[in-house]
């Protein structure tokens, strides 16, 4: 009797775990298929629903925040103030995640992505004040995981952008970018639910090379 109860509890716990995993996988697939801003907002809501059930997991919050940042680039109907509001939402979620797990490299990398997007909305006025926080987030992300390809990509991206702005050649960065791109898939990913974005963006900034 006892062993069956234990077995039943074990089965239901395992079922819950696989239920979370399969729901996340399903939602990540939906996210990959999104085209319009409305699609993305629906998927963000899905992640929020998963987050409210799985109070210990930061991953569903991560993707909800990620979508809010992407909306800044994808929602062409949004004006400056609305885009800033997306980033406000992302920032709230990132703060929540930092409290849950202050030592997670991916959260810091996402934070850097949020900050650079803020700067992008008003670079002349915000650049000076916010670039310090951006660099601090990337540094922390790399400290926590020196092999985080997203953090490495963002660091290269800002260095390349800077060089291009000076009219200097980016050749010195090409070998690093090529190496990162070739090795991208070999960097360990903590699970198939963990973030994997960045390779395509890296491809884009690598184009001027060779």
């Amino acid at each position: 009797m006892l062993s069956i109860t234990v077995l039943l509890i074990g089965i239901s716990a395992y079922a819950d775990n696989t239920a979370y995993h399969s729901k996340m996988k399903q939602t990540l697939d939906e996210m990959a298929k999104c085209r319009t801003a409305e699609d993305f907002k629906k998927v963000a809501n899905s992640f929020d629903r998963i987050a409210q059930k799985e109070s210990g997991e930061w991953l569903p919050i991560y993707f909800s925040a990620d979508i809010k940042i992407l909306l800044v680039y994808l929602d062409s109907a949004a004006n400056f103030e609305q885009k800033d509001q997306y980033l406000d939402q992302a920032e709230d979620l990132i703060n929540k995640m930092e409290e849950m797990d202050p030592d997670e490299s991916e959260i810091q990398a996402l934070k850097a992505f949020m900050i650079i997007s803020r700067i992008g909305l008003d670079p002349v006025n915000r650049g000076q004040g916010m670039i310090g926080d951006y660099n601090a987030a990337i540094t922390k992300s790399l400290e926590l995981n020196p092999e985080n390809p997203r953090a490495m990509y963002m660091q290269l991206s800002s260095q390349v952008g800077e060089a291009q702005w000076f009219g200097k050649s980016i050749d010195s960065f090409c070998p690093k970018m090529k190496e990162l791109y070739e090795n991208w898939d070999s960097y360990p990913v903590a699970s198939d639910l963990h973030p994997q974005w960045g390779k395509e963006q890296l491809w884009q900034i690598m184009q001027p090379c060779n």
């Binding site: 009797m1 629906k42 103030e81 002349v124 915000r126 650049g127 702005w165």
Partner: protein
């Protein structure tokens, strides 16, 4: 054993026979407008969906029995509804109420201009203040391009809405700066003491300001030192013919320290650029500034700022009373300013602010052989609290102590005069911010002051309010009484004076959308109890009273556009001012010499990636101001020339760490004239001799090189140039 298994199997089969439950309905706001993209779900499950553009939602759930159906939508209060799921479809229509959020709620803007970087409705950024071409790195110069100000070239201080320069007070991090300007030669422009790059967050209040501040009949300028994370770096700057500045910053996880020193000497510059005056000793000054910031505990920040400064100059002016003779006016100034503050959250609802500032200022002047000295020791202690009384009510209150010790001494012919006074001011203030919703806020406050020297109390009510018409526009109103003690020099000679007073009414409309902002404000100021005296010769005053009075009213318009031109932004200001007063040595009511009826400014900044440069230009115009000609019967009846100036600047990022900067003031070469100065006595024909008051030189040129060396590769001049 078998029975249990069979029983559980039956239960499992029974549940699966029931199947899924359909949950559907609509989501609207309280007005019935559909809400698109609301999140509707069964609490603690994954089951749910988003509402569509018509506010409709529909989803199927496997959950059974008693559940909570939750609905969430950003900006609105979430709802939790009890449902019983048994396979029968359920329908729920939700009406969501707006959620109050202080961060998104309406802000009081009447009489207040904020230079901020993060806010959405941005009037100015702190970078704007620091980089306005004509300002030449002087905060006042930049503020003079905003509405509500009259540029007074012969003074260089801030004159707001018909008020004299003493009617504006400056605060750094909430603490008083008693001497925000350098000591200057008579009738020549001075500058502010502080480097605008120190501040991120400037609030320029043109009237109707909070009960937290007082002793300023017209306005307060609130400067806030930088809070953002700083990088380790070394900055060197060289200005051609003028001098050099060095600054080093070291930062750590929880704080930073910046120390800087500079030395300037106008002598080489004066040989390159023709001067309108003759200098017995070209201006020379050096200063040392230190800024320290440290996080304490979880939410505390301790800040310290100190500025030590020595300057001297000697100016030769024609003695209009003795033609052919010159007066040598020499000044030596030393100024020490220290400002420390600590803010800390005591709990979730309580915030504490404690701070102190002190100024030691000494002016040693020699007029030919006659010495004159003015010394000031001033201190400001402040303790303030912020209490979140309820979700929509916030209380802000505190107490201040101001001390002033002022000494004036002069030796002139047979006159040997020295006098000292102590004036302490005790202050208590309180105000409540009461929101009725995100759209409407009321601020009610009061301030009580007691002056030991005057032996008098005053109490001033302050009231302001703001209403959001829609997401992007709002109206705001402010009203208050403002008191100010007479100037220290006048207090030396007269007991029985009392506070001067101004009552303000301000009404403001502003709209801000998509990086464009429009703002219009009307104001009325009623002055009473202004100091009046009789004056026989320079500063020889008697017959003091508080019988002075006057008023000022007008319209200020402001438009800023950071969207239309790619990589460029501009703002336009226009002010209309009508003012008259009877104060100081005026014989009757008249328009003062520091007010002009029309003021116009346009400022443009452009960031060129191709040229790696920041190019700026501004043009300002002021209609002619009055001045007094003793040869005329009527007082203040003469008109100066109109003032206008076109200024340009160019900051070029030459290398990774080097910026070259060039600026020219008054490109058009207008011969500015600010009226005349006159002899103190008429000559034998009964005519007062005169000489025009003109700036130091027709144009002002600045050419400089700035180096930045930083430890972190990512930080460089790129950010400085922006």
């Amino acid at each position: 054993m078998k029975k249990w298994i069979v029983a559980s199997l039956i239960i499992v089969i029974q549940y699966s026979v029931f199947g899924q439950t359909l949950v559907r309905g609509t989501v609207t706001d309280v007005k019935g407008e559909p809400l698109f993209g609301a999140n509707v779900y069964i609490e603690n499950t994954y089951d749910g969906t988003s509402s569509n553009a018509d506010g409709k939602y529909e989803f199927k759930t496997d959950e059974k029995g008693d559940q909570n159906l939750k609905i969430e939508y950003l900006g609105y209060k979430p709802i939790k509804a009890f449902v019983h799921l048994n396979g029968q479809p359920v329908e729920f229509h939700f009406e969501l109420e707006e959620q109050f959020s202080e961060l998104n709620a309406v802000v009081i803007t009447a009489g207040s201009f904020e230079a901020s970087d993060r806010k959405r409705a941005i009037e100015l950024s702190s970078v704007d203040i620091a980089t306005t071409a004509g300002a030449m790195g002087d905060i006042v110069g930049a503020i003079n391009t905003l509405p509500g100000t009259t540029p007074v070239g012969e003074s260089g201080r801030l004159y707001v809405r018909g008020g004299s320069s003493e009617e504006t007070k400056t605060f750094i991090d909430g603490l008083l700066v008693s001497q925000p300007y350098h000591s200057a030669a008579p009738n020549l422009s001075t500058r502010g003491r502080f480097n605008p790059f120190l501040f991120s967050g400037t609030i320029f209040n043109t009237g109707g300001y909070s009960a937290e501040y007082g002793q300023a009949l017209s306005s307060v300028l609130l400067l806030n030192t930088i809070n953002e994370k700083q990088k380790d770096e070394l900055n060197l700057s060289f200005l051609l013919g003028l001098g050099a500045d060095f600054a080093g910053t070291k930062s750590w996880e929880s704080g930073s320290i910046t120390a800087s020193g500079n030395y300037f000497n106008m002598k080489p510059y004066m040989t390159l650029v023709k001067q309108n005056q003759e200098w017995s000793k070209p201006a020379e000054f050096y200063s040392q500034e230190t800024s320290f910031k440290q996080k304490t505990g979880k939410s505390g920040i301790f800040k310290l700022y100190s500025n030590v400064n020595q300057s001297r100059f000697g100016l030769l002016q024609n003695d209009l009373d003795q033609p052919g003779q010159k007066i040598n006016y020499e000044l030596k100034n030393s100024n020490y300013f220290l400002n420390t503050s600590w803010t800390n959250a005591l709990s979730e609802k309580w915030m504490l602010f404690a701070g102190a500032s002190t100024t030691l200022n000494s002016d040693e002047i020699r007029i030919n052989v006659n010495p004159l000295s003015e010394k000031l020791h001033a201190a400001h202690l402040k303790l303030g609290f912020d209490y979140q009384l309820a979700e929509k009510i916030n209380l802000h209150f505190g107490t201040d102590y101001f001390h002033e010790g002022y000494t004036y001494s002069i030796v002139y012919d047979t006159l040997n005069f020295r006098q000292h006074l102590n004036n302490d001011l005790y202050v208590g203030f309180a105000e409540a911010n009461i929101y009725t919703s995100n759209k409407l806020v009321f601020r009610i406050g009061g301030r009580a002051e007691y002056s030991t020297f005057l032996s008098k109390y005053n109490f001033s009510p302050r009231f302001s309010s703001a209403y959001k018409i829609d997401d992007y526009s709002q109206v705001s109103f402010a009203y208050g009484w403002f008191f100010q003690s007479p100037q220290n020099f006048d207090l030396l000679f007269e007991d029985g004076l009392t506070f001067q007073r101004a009552d303000h009414f301000v009404l403001n409309y502003q709209k801000s959308i998509n990086k464009r902002m429009f703002r219009a404000e009307v104001f009325y100021k009623d002055y009473s109890h202004l100091i009046k005296y009789k004056e026989d010769g320079y500063r020889n005053r008697s017959n003091y009273s508080n019988k002075g009075y006057g008023d000022a009213y007008g319209l200020d318009v402001f438009f800023r556009d950071a969207k239309t031109i790619k990589n460029g932004h501009f703002w336009i200001s226009y002010s209309y001012l009508e003012t008259e007063r009877d104060f100081r040595n005026y014989p009757y009511l008249t328009t003062p010499e520091f007010a002009s009826k029309h003021n116009f400014s346009i400022v443009y900044k452009h960031f060129s990636e191709k040229l790696r440069s920041m190019i700026g230009g501004d043009f300002s115009y002021s209609s002619p101001r009055n001045y007094n000609d003793p040869n005329q019967e009527a007082f203040n009846a003469s008109k100066m020339k109109a003032y206008y100036s076109l200024n340009v600047s160019w900051a070029y990022l030459w290398k990774d760490q080097v910026i070259i900067y060039a600026a020219v003031n008054n490109v058009l070469g207008r011969n500015q004239e600010y009226g005349y100065r006159f002899s103190t006595q008429p000559d034998e024909d009964g005519i007062y001799a005169r000489e025009p008051i003109v700036p130091q030189s027709r144009r002002f040129y600045l050419l400089g090189v700035f180096f930045t060396f930083s430890k972190d590769k990512a930080k460089n001049q790129l950010d400085k140039i922006n």
